[in-house]
């Protein structure tokens, strides 16, 4: 079994296990008599690319896996626990710098390559007690690659995939919470896997 499959398995066992634990626990937000709400999440932090980069072995390269990243998410939260929403953001997956001496004519020519993504994901959420909330869902990753080597080439691609995240929040006011989130993103088609840690602000935009 590959590492990513193990992660999926462990994540799902965790979710399923926890889902039994939460029966009977308190709601994350105290009941106000209103059942539905729109909640926005805005976050920023650092991401670490955990997948294989696959630079050709013959290249003497320097890889950068750690990058700043951001998340924007909006959730529709009904009166029952399972919420649904949409997520996007910006995550640089990785970049590498090749230190020259690599072309067939023997010329030293430095090269850089960047791969970034904008996720477009459907997200389900589930609270666990007053502070913890799990997110997960399928979708796609809009990818951009930028190669600078004997000229610039900027290209776009798409990969189906999914994400899972654990969010721990504390209440600042009736409508605002502050959170930290650990998120795992998997662009399955292109085998790009990423882990991020972010600080998040959460606003209850509308309640009815």
């Amino acid at each position: 079994m590959s590492d990513s499959k193990k992660i999926i398995g462990i994540s799902m066992l965790f979710i399923l296990g926890c889902s039994g634990v939460v029966i009977g626990q308190d709601e994350e937000v105290p009941k106000t008599g209103k059942g539905y709400s729109y909640v926005a999440y805005l976050g920023a932090g650092v991401s670490y690319f955990t997948g294989s980069i696959g630079t050709p072995a013959s290249l003497n390269n320097t890889v950068r896996r750690l990058s700043p990243c951001g998340t924007a998410r909006i959730m529709w939260q009904p009166e029952y626990k399972l919420g649904i929403g949409f997520e996007t953001g910006w995550t640089p997956f990785y970049s590498y710098h090749v230190n020259g001496g690599i072309n067939s004519s023997g010329n030293a020519e430095p090269a850089t390559m960047n791969l970034n993504t904008i996720p477009v994901l459907m997200v389900f959420s589930m609270p666990f007690g007053q502070h913890l909330r799990l997110f997960g869902g399928p979708g796609g990753y809009l990818l951009t690659s930028h190669l600078n080597y004997y000229g610039n080439v900027r290209e776009f691609g798409f990969s189906f995939g999914y994400m899972a995240a654990v969010n721990y929040s504390i209440r600042l006011s009736d409508n605002v919470r502050l959170a930290t989130e650990i998120k795992w993103m998997n662009a399955r088609q292109t085998k790009d896997v990423n882990l991020s840690a972010q600080m998040m602000a959460i606003w209850k935009l509308k309640e009815w």
Binding site: S19, I23, G54, T144, L147, E155, F156, G157
Partner: protein
């Protein structure tokens, strides 16, 4: 919410999450890795044996009855030798083509004393099963006759006895082949391998559209190959099938997007085919096809190209090289649609450039194409084939992968060649003809 309602909500949540979990595991299971690695068939006795001469190889070629081991090879097989070469060495390969499960066997042959030894591996193309198989032809089973200067071969005069196994396991299952008759060598017929030998998704030992696959294509029974051509942003023709770089065909590198947007030096530096080879230029590929194989026909299938000028120059260069070397090989530029017909007819002296036109007979005549190509879905088209052959041109049909359809087109059709992703099954049905 009342206690009862709350319990109901919680139950529905658990059910929903269970369903999501099941879906994740289901998707995960569907993405099981599918590979067919060539087994390690190290055989010390074989390693110290001497090479076979080509007289012995030629004498062995024929149709064999399978008397033991029909589970693997079916009841009848076709055995043929091929070779490929580089600047310093020529290597000969034995191949066995089977109808059952589109199975083939390939390996090498040697002799020790009066025993002939054959060491190789088998592969089923209907799945990913593969394994080691070894044969011996002993003194009492025909080796003395095969090693003579003028072998006299008749039915049952050769018996190949051997063992086969699955995967990397040592071979322990019996297999026996008995010579029946020579291979069919009636009407000339090109066994055309698509994508230089087969598809990467079929997990052959080499990537499609690669120089290693061109060399390997003869072991798959091909007498001709089709190459998928694209042109880089700086005008270099390369072999690549898809519009964009994807992990079906190339190793991960981070590069996305259209092949045509990159220069050759960018592609050659950063992109490797799925088996680690570099993407070949047309120049590399034709060099291997002309100088490293015995292929008779190369179909340059142009995909999304803006100009055919460089392709025409390379075609001309390698036709000259082949003629100088005495090689019997045709290199044709494919004209699959009106757009590429328009581009082709802008080339200087285009009627002198051998081409394969897939359009109307009028277009075939206007381009002076040496061959006409047609889809198999149009049927056997006996009268059209006769008409084109009457003009001194060849008729090819593409792309047939279903064994029953291959058999039907070979036995009932009159085409000069058939393009397939599975050349071994085409070779089988062609050579077993009587």
């Amino acid at each position: 919410l009342s206690g009862m309602e709350r319990m109901g909500y919680n139950r529905s949540i658990v059910k929903t999450l269970s369903l999501l979990g099941f879906l994740f595991f289901f998707i995960s299971a569907c993405e099981r890795k599918y590979e067919a690695p060539v087994p390690d068939n190290d055989w010390p006795l074989f390693d110290t044996a001497d090479p076979l001469d080509t007289i012995t190889q030629k004498a062995m070629e024929g149709i064999y009855r399978v008397t033991d081991g029909t589970d693997l090879f079916g009841s009848q097989v076709a055995l043929k030798w091929s070779f490929n070469s580089n600047l310093t060495d020529t290597t000969y390969y034995i191949s066995i083509f089977c109808e059952k499960d589109i199975t083939y066997y390939t390996g090498q042959g040697r002799k020790t004393g009066t025993d002939l030894l054959f060491n190789g591996y088998w592969r089923k193309m209907v799945n990913n099963q593969t394994g080691i198989a070894r044969f011996t032809i002993s003194d009492t089973n025909g080796s003395r006759q095969l090693l003579s200067k003028t072998p006299m071969i008749s039915a049952d005069s050769i018996t190949m006895a051997g063992l086969w196994g699955s995967g990397e396991n040592p071979p322990t299952n019996n297999i026996v082949l008995k010579y029946v008759r020579p291979l069919y060598h009636g009407k000339a017929f090109e066994i055309m391998a698509a994508h230089t030998g087969g598809q990467t998704i079929d997990h052959l030992p080499h990537a499609e559209n690669s120089t290693d696959m061109i060399r390997y294509s003869s072991q798959l029974g091909a007498t001709g190959i089709q190459m998928d051509l694209r042109i880089t942003s700086d005008g270099v023709p390369i072999l690549f099938r898809d519009d964009d770089f994807n992990q079906r065909l190339v190793q991960k590198s981070g590069l996305l997007g259209k092949v045509e947007d990159y220069t050759y030096v960018q592609i050659n530096t950063f992109v490797k085919l799925i088996d680690g080879q570099s993407i070949p230029t047309l120049d590399n590929a034709l060099d291997v096809a002309v100088n490293g194989t015995n292929l008779h026909f190369v179909w340059l299938d142009t995909r999304n190209v803006g100009s055919l000028a460089t392709i025409q120059q390379l075609q001309s260069k390698y036709i000259q090289i082949a003629q100088t070397a005495g090689r019997d090989i045709q290199i044709v530029i494919g004209i699959p649609d009106q757009q590429r017909l328009s581009i082709f007819t802008t080339l200087p002296n285009y009627t002198a450039s051998p081409s394969l036109c897939e359009l109307t007979f009028a277009d075939v005549a206007a381009t002076n194409s040496v061959a006409w190509g047609t889809k198999w879905t149009s049927g056997i088209q006996s009268s059209e084939v006769s008409q084109i052959q009457g003009q001194g041109r060849k008729a090819f049909v593409w792309t047939i992968d279903d064994p029953n359809t291959v058999s039907e087109f070979i036995s009932q059709g009159n085409f000069d060649g058939l393009l397939s992703d599975y050349p071994t099954i085409v070779a089988y049905y062609y050579y077993v003809r009587q």
